[in-house]
């Protein structure tokens, strides 16, 4: 049965030093509330997996929670790089394990299906040559196909639109690799914008993301994805994504930002009170108008 611990308690209960974590979401539905709580609780020696580390992992790396990042694209899409990621990698302060998008999501697909590997045909590049990437011989025809190993995170953390009292999770819009990341994990802990009665949600079966029996814990966290977005509820805060590029080049500014928005706030509600309320209103209004 899915539990309903508050977000802070869920992190305390289910996330431990040294864990392999996947904070899921591709541009959309990035679980910033979870990431900030992990920082606040001072977790250590984590391995952070994500196709697209995004600003969230930049912030978590700045806070020193991770030893290692497993990823395929460490950029701020449309803006540039991730300044903190870049700094710690150039300084050799963290370990990295790097794939192409296809390789990384194939690793999750293998994990989600309980298979040890996944075949795919992308050509060799300097990443796969460094690793190396083994091949298996197809018993049908004379062909060797490269394979990547399964990725099975200890915990996948995700954010979604809604859950019901049975822990069934609903999401819509761009899902990226969220489902596979959840199904591949030993534990799934979710935050949601709303908890609604099953009687309201069950009709919406096309948007079921995960059945409750695959979900370890659900926590209520309105705006839990900001500055990422929740399709139809609030838009992406592109202003913040653009500002981060300048801000994060200076370690002192990052420290100050973390102090104000993560360490210095008690919880997500407190974080939201630090933000310009008119900006939040505009993001909500933009999503509402676009429908």
């Amino acid at each position: 049965m899915t539990r309903f611990l508050p977000l802070e308690d869920a992190v305390r209960e289910y996330v431990h030093d040294g864990d392999v974590l996947y904070l899921a979401g591709f541009t959309h539905l990035i679980p910033f509330a979870f990431g900030h709580e992990i920082i606040r609780q001072g977790l250590q020696h984590l391995t952070l997996c994500r196709a697209t580390p995004d600003l969230l992992y930049d912030q978590m790396l700045a806070a020193g929670v991770a030893d290692r990042v497993v990823f395929s694209y460490a950029g701020n899409p449309g803006v540039g790089n991730l300044p903190v990621f870049r700094r710690v990698v150039e300084a050799g302060e963290i370990g990295i394990e790097e794939y192409t998008h296809f390789e990384l999501v194939a690793r999750l697909a293998a994990g989600a299906a309980g298979l040890p590997f996944w075949p795919l045909r992308s050509l060799e590049n300097d990443l796969s040559l460094r690793r190396p990437r083994p091949k298996v011989r197809s018993p049908f025809g004379d062909e060797e196909v490269p394979v990547v190993p399964a990725l099975n995170p200890d915990v996948t953390l995700l954010h979604a639109h809604a859950a019901d009292e049975d822990g069934n999770i609903y999401a819509r819009g761009l899902l990226g690799e969220v489902r596979e990341a959840a199904l591949a994990a030993r534990l799934v802990i979710a935050s949601v914008e709303e908890v609604l009665p099953a009687s309201e949600l069950r009709k919406d079966r096309d948007h079921l993301l995960l059945p409750g029996f695959r979900v370890t814990n659900v926590s209520l966290a309105p705006w839990g994805a900001h500055p990422s977005y929740v399709h139809g509820l609030y838009d992406r805060d592109t202003t913040f994504y653009t500002e981060w590029d300048a801000l994060a080049r200076d370690p002192a500014s990052v420290a100050a930002w973390l102090e104000q928005f993560v360490y210095g706030v008690k919880d997500r509600d407190d974080y939201l009170r630090q933000l310009p309320q008119d900006r939040l209103a505009a993001l909500k209004e933009a999503a509402r108008r676009a429908g």
Binding site: F26, H28, S72, H101, N125, A290
Partner: protein, 244 residues
């Protein structure tokens, strides 16, 4: 010439896309270029983004390939794994439309690191889907400013593989657009200058290219931007990433 280097890249890149093609659009200049093409000569161009977005027609230029505007105007949004395995790997993408930090004579693209991988001078974003797109798209078109550091004899890191030494890979790189000219790949799989922008001279291109560059027998001049192209470019830039 009333247009900056990126604008020139985008406009000439747009012209290489044919109506009805399925193009997997990279972030940055390729995104700008594909959206120009869609607004002008290629209204049925199918814009596909590695976020899983299929057949988008964004009302303004999206900042990120996962922006809500792309999703709202799309035909559908696929799980990323389905896009890569069932659409890209199976040859259904006509054009991979990419940028990068470096390119070499074989069309190998680097978007991973400047310097050595273990001790980088500059760590970049990495492959994302670029290496996969370069593997599978029927042809790859690269848009890149013609900075000498970007055209070295050998890239620091092969992120997206080009043509192997000594042969042309049928679905390898097909064209490179720079702010100086336009390149194709000859039957050996070697980059070759085929056209120059108005007012650019051959020596300048060679001077900014890190290897003895091949040149097509009949070097053409790239027609200058049309008023329609300039207008589409300006309009897209004006609205990029803006919340409406």
């Amino acid at each position: 010439m009333p247009v900056d280097a990126q604008g020139r890249l985008a406009i000439v890149g747009a012209r290489l896309l044919r109506d009805g093609e399925r193009v997997l659009v990279g972030v940055g200049t390729p995104n700008l270029a594909a959206n120009i093409a869609k607004r002008l000569h290629a209204p049925r161009l199918v814009l596909i983004y590695e976020s899983g977005v299929i057949d988008a027609y964004p009302p303004r230029l999206p900042l990120s390939i996962g922006d809500p505007d792309l999703v709202r105007t799309s035909l559908c949004v696929l799980p990323i794994h389905d896009l890569f395995s069932q659409y890209l790997q199976t040859g259904w993408i006509d054009v991979g439309f990419l940028g990068g930090a470096q390119i070499d004579r074989r069309g190998n693209l680097n978007s991973t690191v400047i310097g050595s991988y273990a001790h980088p001078k500059a760590r970049l974003a990495g492959s994302g889907g670029a290496a996969d797109i370069a593997s599978f798209a029927r042809r790859t078109i690269v848009l890149m400013p013609h900075d000498p550091r970007r055209f070295p004899a050998a890239v620091d890191f092969v992120t997206s593989p080009g043509h192997p030494e000594g042969r042309r890979r049928p679905n390898g790189p097909a064209a490179v657009v720079t702010d100086l000219g336009l390149f194709d790949y000859d039957e050996d799989g070697e980059m070759r200058l085929t056209a120059l922008h108005e007012g650019v001279d051959l020596a300048e291109v060679q001077g900014r290219t890190g290897w003895p560059m091949r040149v097509a027998p009949h070097l053409e001049e790239i027609p200058p931007p049309t008023p329609q192209e300039l207008e589409a470019l300006a309009e897209l830039r004006r609205t990029e990433g803006a919340t409406p």
